[in-house]
């Protein structure tokens, strides 16, 4: 499955996930504490340097992850222009761009497996509250398996529909596919039990 991790290797790929995540937390908190557009702009510039040092393809990929922000930035500028509070508008915009870019930077430079392992370690104190780390790992693998299986199911049942009906497919197949998915889950539960279950 496609992950957000960048195939382009960067210096940050070598930093372990733990410190990176801690730094991200620190940076985000600091950003939200800063109010002056100037200091926020400096922060963004520093981050941009780090990103640009990773090369052109990486920077472009990261820039793409900021795309969902643009409608928000547009409203923001209109709104603050109308209010006459340009500095405030800059602060909010810079803060959000920097925070999202920093987060993307960490996501893109950490392999998924490493991140999941870190999360599991972070969650391990919850074991005492009844969280079973093995069950979590299992649920994760099962979820990732179910995505293509459910899509396949939908396609296969669409074929079954097409084979016997000239009408368009659409929602007719939703219910059979849902029930089939539930059956799959029941079968998987049994198969899991057959091999020791979520011991």
């Amino acid at each position: 499955m496609l992950t957000l991790t960048s195939p382009v290797k960067t210096f940050a790929h070598d930093i372990p996930a733990g410190p990176k995540l801690a730094a991200l937390g620190l940076v985000t908190v600091t950003l939200f504490a800063m109010t002056s557009p100037l200091s926020l702009a400096i922060a963004l510039a520093a981050l941009s340097l780090a990103i640009l040092s990773c090369g052109r393809p990486f920077s472009i990929a990261l820039l793409r992850s900021l795309r969902p922000l643009w409608p928000f930035l547009m409203v923001l500028s209109l709104w603050h222009l109308w209010l006459g509070d340009v500095a405030g508008g800059f602060a909010i915009g810079l803060r959000m761009i920097t925070a999202v870019a920093a987060a993307s930077f960490v996501t893109m430079t950490t392999p998924l497996a490493e991140m999941l392992a870190l999360f599991q370690r972070l969650l391990s104190p919850l074991t005492r509250l009844g969280l079973n780390p093995k069950a979590l790992a299992l649920a994760l693998a099962l979820m990732i398996r179910f995505i293509p299986v459910m899509l396949d199911r939908f396609e296969i049942l669409s074929h079954a529909w097409r084979a016997r009906s000239p009408r368009r497919i659409g929602w007719h197949v939703v219910m059979p596919a849902t029930l089939a998915a539930l059956d799959d889950a029941a079968q998987v539960a049994e198969a899991l039990r057959a091999r020791g279950g979520a011991l």
């Binding site: 969902p68 409203v75 998924l112």
Partner: protein, 180 residues
């Protein structure tokens, strides 16, 4: 045990699949998505606890870096964006929805529709609006205005959640953990 686990995984996957339905971008930066239907179904079918766990599993993988939010987004960035209130609200909404279905034992279709509306629309949007007001530096009423476009879609989604839950209750009663 195994059954709960697999159903949790299944519904987490379902939320991911609903993310493939094209989203509609709005000026607030919070899109109209089909994924909140998945959140509702987690609650109505799996019940409070398992429903919330399914949503948490989905978020766990998404935040760790699989691009499973609508439009192929994921990673920590989503927590720094204007949707953060909704993201935090997802498991809570599923929990509330599930709790209502478990508690209010009338016809499951009706109970699920109402629960999906209260949990997946009211609770979720309250949290989402608070998030927007913080992230976008708006007053609560202003932020609430930004959530207005969700009303129609979310009501339709509640009805769909009710219908689907009803159909499952008829065809696979044993799979309806919320009424187990």
């Amino acid at each position: 045990m195994e059954k709960n686990l697999t159903q949790i995984a299944l519904f987490a996957a379902l939320i991911a699949i609903l993310g493939l339905v094209p989203k509609v971008d709005l000026i607030s930066g919070v899109p109209i998505t089909a994924q909140s239907l998945g959140i509702m179904l987690c609650g109505t079918v799996l019940g409070a606890r398992n429903g919330a766990l399914a949503v948490l599993l989905f978020l766990f993988v998404t935040i760790a870096g699989l691009p499973l939010l609508s439009g192929g987004r994921g990673g920590f960035g989503v927590l720094a964006g204007p949707s953060v209130g909704y993201i935090i609200g997802f498991p809570i909404a599923a929990y509330v929805t599930g709790a209502i279905v478990e508690f209010w034992r009338v016809n499951v279709g009706l109970s699920a529709t109402v629960a999906a509306f209260l949990g997946g629309f009211v609770v979720l949007n309250v949290l989402g609006v608070i998030g927007m007001s913080i992230m976008l530096d708006k007053t609560l009423p202003e932020a609430a205005l930004l959530a207005l476009p969700f009303a129609v879609g979310d009501t339709i989604k509640s009805v769909i959640a009710g219908l689907v839950t009803h159909a499952i209750a008829r065809a696979r009663p044993e799979a309806l953990l919320s009424r187990a």
